[in-house]
Assembly symmetry: C2
């Protein structure tokens, strides 16, 4: 039957998510989950929504959630689109803008899913490399007929963030929509956030997720902020009921508990600072992170260290990008987890 | 910015889901939700899963769910793919098989989403009309290069079901994959179910949902049964984490409580029989339903009756298909709801 699939689907490798071990006993520092639990108010809101009403379809337009997100960002609810995780948002956007043969650009090293999404549309991937100082050469975006640009800000695996002025330069350099993926935005300096740019830049789209800052990777919720003209078209592309009733309730509660977010963010940032210093002291190069992970290169062979850590039941992410040194992306765990990771690393290297 | 969208997206109307009124006080007989609550065991399983573990990503391959579904159907877990509702399954399939200009066929009148999904891929819709006795003229499927066929069985809005032998005739009439959408399969005679055909028909795919029989439209869960070769390719197309942790827990619990499903199914079928007889007595034509709704045509002008029912806070679905009489699709409610609907209808007409 594979002869009947679209050739681009058969030929592609598919995105491989970070390992999710089913057995316990691992210290998971490999998929940038938040080490702290979700807000108790969020867990209560979910439990309250587990009623007989689950027999009904959820609100297809996630009205209450859009109002809450719009209020947080000071924009109109018509400028918000909710997704089944921000991956769903990225999928919807790619399907809306990129057709077969259409060029779409993404920075590298960055989130590997962008390439997969372009391949699924049979589009043409345009790669914009980061330089050694983690800036982008915008001349690489001068591609005729470019349909879409993906920029993760902060980026993964580097953890680095571009200032809002740098984002404006990208928006002005192209004649197409630019998706700024702020999955890690909750851990960044607010001066890097792009939603305030929406009022002056109609080609900007900004995605957010509840998987990182809000500790809710398990419920699948993300959203896009963009002009209402863009959102209106994207609504036609999304599945009608892409967000379930429980994630909608969780999202409203999570947005409503900003003090909890601020508290876990502070803890993560403090641990991140300590981890980066410790890794640099061990000889690693670690760029300044604005995320909930750090990117360690130039130390002992990453592949070997990765394997030895895994033997000791510590999972980090080994990442390879052509033209860049292989490295280890280490998610920020609790202080205890990071202490154990550092002790084990010192034994290994 | 709309000039930058794919032209097929800008030109299409988009799927319009049935109305989900946010205020209360409506009798909802318009979106084929189950009038009975989910199994208490399912609600307990969801609540038990609302823990700090929601900070973690869910199992991307929904391993426990696949095992439970495979066991129920007596097939291998590698033959199951879970989706964020069966709409997600339909989206994944369409993206995998249908590219721009590719012909894809669906029966009509049927689920309007099939056409939307083909439009989103910029494919070419091939319409296969039902005849007056709700059978399909298979010669309409003789289209060169046909990539995919969608058949809802039982169908909506007719509620009618084809026997397994009729499905075999379709599978043999084409040289492409056939998706048999069994969203309403839980209310049908098991002799209509197609999963037993998988072992002999590699071009068959069968989708199921938890939104109807299992009363779980709010959690978004569906699945596909197909050959493992087909599933392996579809995994590349789906979002990595398309099913959240709570719906996975709910799905396993729901599949494990077959006595509850049997009980609600019996109640729905008894009410369905009574409603069809009452509507026929009022002069409507109502085909034999194998679903949780009935399709009423040939009575007083459907549009007017629909509006008057809505004034009285009863929502049914008014449906129009070119070449077919306009009709009302009435979901099976509780006995009290259907009594109230029938009383109100008698006053109106």
């Amino acid at each position: 039957m594979t002869r009947l699939f679209r050739p681009n689907v058969v030929c592609m490798a598919g995105y491989v998510p970070g390992e999710q071990p089913r057995g316990g006993g691992f210290i998971k520092l490999n998929t940038n989950e938040n080490p702290y639990p979700p807000s108790p108010k969020v867990l209560s809101a979910i439990v309250e929504a587990v009623t007989d009403r689950l027999r009904l379809y959820p609100d297809p337009m996630t009205t209450a959630f859009r109002e809450a997100a719009a209020s947080l960002h000071g924009i109109d609810p018509s400028m918000i689109l909710a997704g089944n995780g921000s991956d769903d948002v990225l999928t919807i956007i790619t399907r809306a803008f990129v057709g077969p043969g259409d060029p779409a650009a993404y920075a590298t090293p960055s989130y590997l899913l962008y390439k997969t999404l372009i391949q699924l549309q049979d589009g043409r991937a345009v790669v914009v490399p980061y330089s050694a100082d983690w800036t982008l050469d915008l001349s690489a975006l001068k591609v005729p007929g470019l349909r879409l640009v993906y920029i993760a800000n902060p980026d993964s695996p580097s953890g680095t963030a571009m200032t809002r002025n740098r984002i404006v330069e990208i928006l002005q350099a192209v004649d197409c929509p630019v998706l700024v993926d702020e999955a890690y935005g909750d851990f960044a300096d607010p001066g890097c956030h792009s939603i305030p740019l929406l009022k002056d830049h109609p080609n900007l789209m900004v995605s957010r997720t509840f998987s990182k800052g809000y500790s809710l990777a398990g419920i699948r919720l993300g959203y896009l902020a963009a002009s209402s003209e863009i959102i209106d078209q994207l609504v036609k592309v999304k599945d009608s009921y892409n967000c379930d009733a429980l994630s909608q309730a969780a999202g409203v509660a999570a947005l409503g508990d900003q003090p909890y977010l601020a508290e876990t963010r502070s803890k993560v940032i403090a641990t991140r600072t300590r981890l980066a210093l410790a890794l640099r002291a061990l000889g690693y190069e670690v760029p300044e992170s604005h995320s909930n992970f750090v990117w360690a290169t130039a130390g002992p062979p990453a592949r070997e260290v990765f394997a030895r850590l895994k033997e000791r039941r510590i999972l980090v992410r080994l990442m390879s990008y052509p033209g860049y040194p292989e490295g280890l992306r280490v998610s920020i765990g609790t202080d205890e987890e990071i202490d154990h990771f550092l002790e084990t690393l010192r034994e290994i290297i």
